[in-house]
């Protein structure tokens, strides 16, 4: 479970940065980039606190 959440969290980070790189090469529109960035933001900000909590419990 913890590992799965960690992977989802990292996908959130990837979704935050990768669209900007795609925009740089003209492979994505700015509106789509903004949408992806907020999606990545929500994923990370929701998942990361849970991972932090589970990590503390595991310790």
């Amino acid at each position: 479970m913890l590992n799965l959440l960690k992977i989802i969290g990292r996908i959130g980070l990837l979704v935050t940065i990768l669209p900007a790189v795609l925009f740089l090469f003209d492979w994505m529109t700015l509106d789509a980039v903004k949408l992806c960035m907020i999606l990545g933001t929500v994923i990370w900000l929701v998942i990361a606190p849970v991972v932090q909590k589970l990590n503390k419990e595991a310790v």
């Binding site: 980070l13 900000l45 932090q52």
Partner: protein, 460 residues
């Protein structure tokens, strides 16, 4: 800019009046992570654009910051970390042993007041993002006073939340700051990449030309620069002067196993004070190109580049850094008034910072304020460095058992105030920029301290 992380704060409440024992020392990864996160703050959104507004050439930004940040890292590595890992005391207790507890109170007062202004700038930054959905009239580069009632109300609301949260406790926000740090770094990077793409330049020459045009637009037709290469170097070096040469980070590195952990500050400098500043500068250049507006207001700039994620980043970056800054200022004031509860002192401190945040001048003149901040606080670090190497001979046992000659050391006070006083007079009467003063005041303070205390140490 910088703030206290969860770990450093939690640590600061331990071993305040004794050397950190070996069993409590931390590994290198803690320091790399901490510095990478804490130097990606809300104020980075302001500092980058201010370089453009001051007419700094692109080459000077890239090379000047490269050198300035290197000098900052070397200051941490070779001045702060070696003393911290040998003495293993907080700045305050170390200073108390040299200058007496009452002089530490004076230092705390200066520290607390300056922290309030810094937190105020961070509240202003957050408010510019919160105000977007409310159509709040944004302050401009030349705004000194509050420009609308809605700006005042939103700053008050943001500041009140930050003050109450800071007064209630530190842990939750500190935990959240740690969670947000990697995401914030990526949002800064993404914003920089998007802004660069929007500039639509295909080579260095075109970028330089566009940059020069942006400067001309931002300076309303003027092409002169206020900041040359050395200005950028000195600003990059001394914007955290209070932390490295000012020895404030003794409190952090006293937990380091080795002095080589001082290199970890490179993560903060080259992520926060290089990548993030350059990204933020590109964001303003893109705004100038697309909207013909040179107002360095973080909320709208980030919103235009990254949409809602940009707004959230500005709010969180401002909030997570204002919060510990207010907490730190509250602790500094509480040391002066120990009978009043930390809750009340922090709350009042938060509202003072909020009041300061209502004046956009502090955020818009952040480069000068940061220079002043370093000029006032950093010289205290010179007293610690000169005392350590000349009087204690680098031996912690000469410090740990020592008692100050008095509870309020006049030689230390004079060594601090004379160069700082001269620097402030020069700042007000000449055109010399504030970021040039921390170095001479630091050296002057150290030499005066040696001169004033030479006889007393020779006799002892």
């Amino acid at each position: 800019m910088t703030e206290v992380t969860e770990s450093s704060k939690a640590q600061a409440s331990e071993f305040e009046r004794e050397p950190v024992p070996n069993s409590e020392l931390k590994g290198a990864s803690k320091f790399w992570g901490m510095y990478a996160g804490e130097h990606c703050a809300g104020t980075e959104f302001v500092i980058g654009p201010l370089f453009l507004l001051n007419g700094v050439s692109l080459g000077n930004i890239f090379l000047g910051l490269l050198l300035g940040n290197l000098l900052a890292v070397l200051s941490w590595r070779f001045l702060c970390a070696p003393i911290a890992t040998k003495a293993r005391l907080t700045l305050y207790y170390h200073l108390e042993k040299i200058a007496g507890d009452k002089l530490v109170i004076l230092y705390n007062l200066a520290n607390g007041i300056l922290f309030c202004f810094l937190a105020g700038a961070m509240i202003t930054v957050s408010a510019t993002a919160v105000g977007i959905p409310f159509d709040m009239p944004m302050p401009t580069a030349s705004s000194l006073l509050p420009n609308s009632l809605s700006f005042v109300l939103i700053v008050f609301a943001v500041g009140a939340v930050i003050a109450i949260v800071a007064a209630k406790g530190y842990e939750t926000v500190a935990n959240f700051a740690n969670i947000a740090a990697p995401w914030m770094i990526l949002v800064f990077a993404a914003c920089g990449i998007i802004a660069f793409a929007q500039l639509e330049v295909s080579n260095w020459t075109a970028l330089k030309e566009l940059w020069a045009n942006s400067i001309t637009f931002a300076q309303e037709g003027q092409t002169e620069t206020r900041m040359g290469f050395w200005s950028v170097v000195f600003f990059g070096w001394f914007c955290n002067a209070a932390m490295h040469v000012g020895m404030s980070d003794l409190s952090v590195f006293r937990f380091a196993k080795k002095e080589s952990y001082g290199w970890a500050t490179a993560a903060g400098m080259y992520v926060g004070h290089y990548m993030a500043w350059i990204a933020a500068a590109f964001m303003l250049a893109a705004q100038i190109k697309l909207q013909q507006s040179a107002d360095p207001v973080p909320g709208p700039i980030a919103y235009n580049i990254a949409g809602l994620a940009g707004i959230i980043c500005v709010i969180i970056a401002g909030w997570t850094t204002a919060n510990p800054t207010i907490y730190r200022a509250g602790l500094a004031f509480q040391a002066i008034m120990p009978k009043i509860s930390r809750f009340k002192v922090t709350l009042v401190t938060g509202f003072i910072a909020t009041f300061a945040g209502m004046f956009p001048a502090i955020a818009m003149k952040l480069l000068d304020f940061v220079g002043l901040y370093g000029t006032i606080l950093a010289p205290i670090g010179a007293i610690i460095v000169f005392d350590w190497y000349f009087h204690r001979k680098g031996d912690p046992s000469n410090l740990h058992g020592a008692q100050p000659a008095s509870s309020f050391s006049i030689p230390v006070l004079l060594a601090w105030l004379i160069p700082v006083g001269i620097a402030i007079i020069l700042m007000r009467t000449t055109d010399i920029s504030a970021w040039y003063f921390p170095l001479p005041t630091w050296i002057g303070c150290g030499l005066l301290y040696l001169a004033f205390t030479r006889n007393s140490f020779a006799n002892s």
